[in-house]
């Protein structure tokens, strides 16, 4: 085996407080082939200072209490939750559950 790893491109759209924390509405990142949703979220949080504070609930170490995550238009818990495989060209939407109003 050669040990080559293949990268897949993922677009991440950020809404509300996540957009504010990231200072951007959209990020494009590359992750290793075979990555799961949790890997992509971890990568985004690592790369964007301040985002983890509003996205991740540190007590349960999960985004689930704070966010709806859509994977190609489907809410992630309707797939395999954090273990949902993320393919090349996927679009994730990170949508905060609590907004202003």
């Amino acid at each position: 085996m050669s040990g080559w790893s293949v990268a897949v491109r993922v677009e991440v759209r950020l809404i509300g407080v996540f957009r504010e924390a990231a200072g951007s509405t959209r990020l494009v990142i590359e992750v290793e082939e075979g990555s799961r949703l949790v890997d992509v979220v971890d990568r985004v949080v690592e790369g964007v200072p301040g985002l983890g504070d509003v996205l991740v609930d540190r007590v349960v170490e999960s985004y689930a209490p704070n966010a709806l995550v859509l994977v190609n238009g489907v809410e992630a818990s309707n797939l395999e939750g954090p273990m949902t495989p993320i393919g090349d060209g996927s679009t994730l939407v990170l949508l905060p559950v609590t907004h202003g109003g």
């Binding site: 609930d57 209490p65 238009g73 559950v97």
Partner: protein, 303 residues
Amino acid sequence: MNALTPICTRCREAPSIYYRPYSGERLCGACFNESLLERVKKTVGKYDMFEYDSRIAVGVSGGKDSLTLLRLLDELERDRPYAELVAVCVDEGVTGYRDEALMLAEKSCRELGVELHRVGFGELFGETMDEIAARDRELGTCSYCGVLRRRALDEAAKAVEADRLATGHNLDDVAQGVLMNVLRGDLVRIDGFHPGGWSLEGFVRRVKPLCEVPERETTFYAYVNGLEFQSLPCPYAEEAMRSDVRRFLNRMEVGRPGTKFTVYQTGLKIRGRGGGGVVGQCRVCGRPARGDLCRACELSGRG
């Protein structure tokens, strides 16, 4: 693009896009919308929220809950030719925040052809939220805003001659309220909990048609239906206890789906039937009050 999207458990035809852990349903977009409409219809019926000819003031803030409520009630009231909807909104005077929200509220009302009536803290109480936040005060900003906004919505509903005031409080809001009242030992509020509202002389009856719809679902509805809504929290938001309770319930709901419904149902079981402990009359505005001065007159310095 997702390899294994389950089929909708309701229509058994279309691919599902949303999973409800508390019921096990997997829903396609059309069935998700339909199920929310049905739930609101059932809630309205259960609490006798409206008369067949009610003129319903819908409180719209520009947030996802109130715009979802406006959309769902507009759809429900199409089958009731004698009922009318009119939107009411409150400009608390939070520069840069409320301006955007009100613009979104106006846009949504225009799209649905619903009249919008606007009132402001400045004209009603002589002070905007920016001014209240900047001055010396005993309580947090949310305490002032919550009380004065409720009063302002009541004034607006009266101004448009509505007999009901519908607000966008969702299941999360009411479950948080129940738990906060228990934690504070506030027996009067526990006793007065009623999503269908009380008919009290001097107030327009306030109803909460979304009280059985989780916040995740109002959020998902607003997003997938392309509603443009205010997505940033208020800059003055500082309700520490509610934030703690919200975080706790959100964690519990992930691990134990249905927790919020249980808390809400418990609130219904332990409440009384006494009209929310309202026994007196405010000496300033004449409205029903828990003592001889209502909170709105007290906090706006009229007492």
